[in-house]
């Protein structure tokens, strides 16, 4: 297999094309635009049979996607930031109607101030929508996760939207060597989409998205949705194992990097993990017991795997690329809950909002117990 020089956006577009979607309703927004620009060229060149629906907004994109997915069409879309914010209402509906939609999110800061660069505030806005969120570290992972996304979304135990989250510009626009699987291999891997109760089956009409009362069945359906999202973790593990057999590339819920004997461990999502790995390598060479734990599925959160991976850590430092004004930033809060009762110390930082870079020197400073002046907010340590 040979590598091609592709941006993350191009890699995602290839992953979408090879996954053979039937319907792609989409609205352009920076930094997602290159994804749909390249994908629409695939359609016009006859390399994808997808019906590309030019909708007038992201709210409509997700609305159209729900109808298509429930009718029995493999459906994909992509967005970023304000687009995801506008789409958010319907993302909840997609999850509750159990519409398996594979989507990409080019992570970008939410306004305001208006900004087009990366942070994770857009993905975190839909944290509780009930969809699967997989964070990629680089263009290769973005492609690989996009290939896996329909398999996870369409699994009968899941039937939920799956979002592949890739850092805006850092991944969407930066070109890297990416290995693509052959088209026929991916076609076999993703297989056919079989929807339970196709909506257009007129011989067996169904009511979709019915009103749910306090006594029947709002609570039950919310519970079932939560269970399905939890199921996505096992499905992710199984699908990743199949994918590894094809590609040689291994995906696990958490990626441990030099955690053997690590006393201080950084936790992060997305492309920052690459920078942290460089810093960890430098510090390990200098004899420091440091490591990285990168989480791929933020939803469903692999709590058992996180606890197991951090069993030997004395100090855990969470880097959040989103803030929660007035409260605890999302990843830090999740890790605090996951480690509740543990002896280790927990420290949390918000970093990189609005695309501010985090360099190797910054990561070294964090490991050393400091807070680089420019990079973010030092939050409370826990336990105090």
């Amino acid at each position: 297999m040979t590598a091609e020089l592709l941006t993350g956006g191009e890699a995602i577009a290839h992953g979408m094309r090879q996954g053979q979607p039937d319907v792609v309703p989409v609205y352009p927004i920076t930094p997602q635009t290159p994804i749909i620009q390249v994908f629409s060229k695939f359609v016009s060149d006859g390399r994808s049979h997808a019906e590309l629906v030019d909708v007038e907004s992201e709210h409509s994109a997700m609305s159209a996607a729900i109808g298509a997915a429930l009718a029995g069409a493999r459906t994909m879309t992509a967005t970023s930031s304000q687009g995801l914010a506008l789409m958010a209402e319907v993302v909840y509906i997609a999850a509750s109607m159990r519409a398996p939609i594979a989507m990409a999110i080019g992570n970008r800061a939410l306004s305001g101030p208006i900004n087009i660069h990366c942070d994770h505030s857009d993905s975190m806005l839909i944290r509780d929508s009930g969809i699967v969120q997989l964070f990629a570290e680089n263009a290769q992972e973005a492609y690989d996760l996009m290939v896996m996304a329909p398999r996870i979304a369409e699994h009968p135990d899941v039937l939920l939207p799956v979002a592949v989250c890739l850092d805006g510009f850092t991944i969407t626009h930066a070109a890297e060597p990416v290995e693509l699987l052959p088209d026929d291999v991916v076609a076999t891997f993703v297989g056919e989409y079989h929807v339970p109760h196709p909506m257009l089956e007129v011989s067996s009409p169904t009511t979709r998205g019915p009103f749910a009362m306090p006594d029947y069945y709002y609570y039950e359906l919310r519970h079932a949705q939560g269970v399905a999202l939890r199921n996505a973790l096992d499905v992710f593990i199984d699908v990743a194992a199949e994918f590894e057999a094809l590609s040689g590339r291994r995906y696990e819920p958490v990626q441990s990097y030099r955690l053997d004997g690590a006393e201080r461990v950084l936790i992060a999502l997305g492309s920052t993990a690459g920078t942290i790995k460089d810093a960890v390598d430098e510090l390990r060479d200098e004899g420091e017991a440091v490591g990285l734990l990168r989480i791929t599925p933020f939803r469903p959160l692999p709590m058992d795997e996180i606890r197991a991976a951090l069993a030997g850590a004395q100090r855990v430092i969470v880097l959040d690329r989103a803030d929660s004004p007035g409260g605890v930033a999302p990843l830090g809060a999740e890790i605090a809950a996951t480690l509740y009762g543990s002896e280790c110390e927990l420290e949390r930082h918000v970093y990189g909002l609005g695309g501010r870079d985090l360099g190797v020197a910054d990561v070294r400073a964090i490991f050393a117990g400091g807070t680089p002046d420019h990079f973010g907010v030092r939050e409370h340590s826990w336990p105090a």
Binding site: A99, P196, D215, H223, V227
Partner: protein, 102 residues
Amino acid sequence: MAPLKPWDELEPGGIVVPSEAAIPHTSGWRTGVKPAVDGAKCVNCLLCWLYCPDSAILLDGTTFAGFDYDHCKGCEICDEVCPVDAIEMVAEETVLPERGVR
């Protein structure tokens, strides 16, 4: 009220299939009146069936067969459209035959 199903017996997303669509009884908030019909006056025009905004007019094949009080909301439209004045709204507590045909 039919017995509730547990969460793991529901269709994904609460899909309602035809066999189950009529199961939830939705007449709990009826307005306080309900229709009754004089069977001798009914000419089986089925205007009540056509106009009923719910599914509360029962048919036996193509023959009017009374009211489904598990779904009737008491809107009085059937009473309004009946051309031979066979339908009359009566107080909720009135004791009627099961399908309201007198």
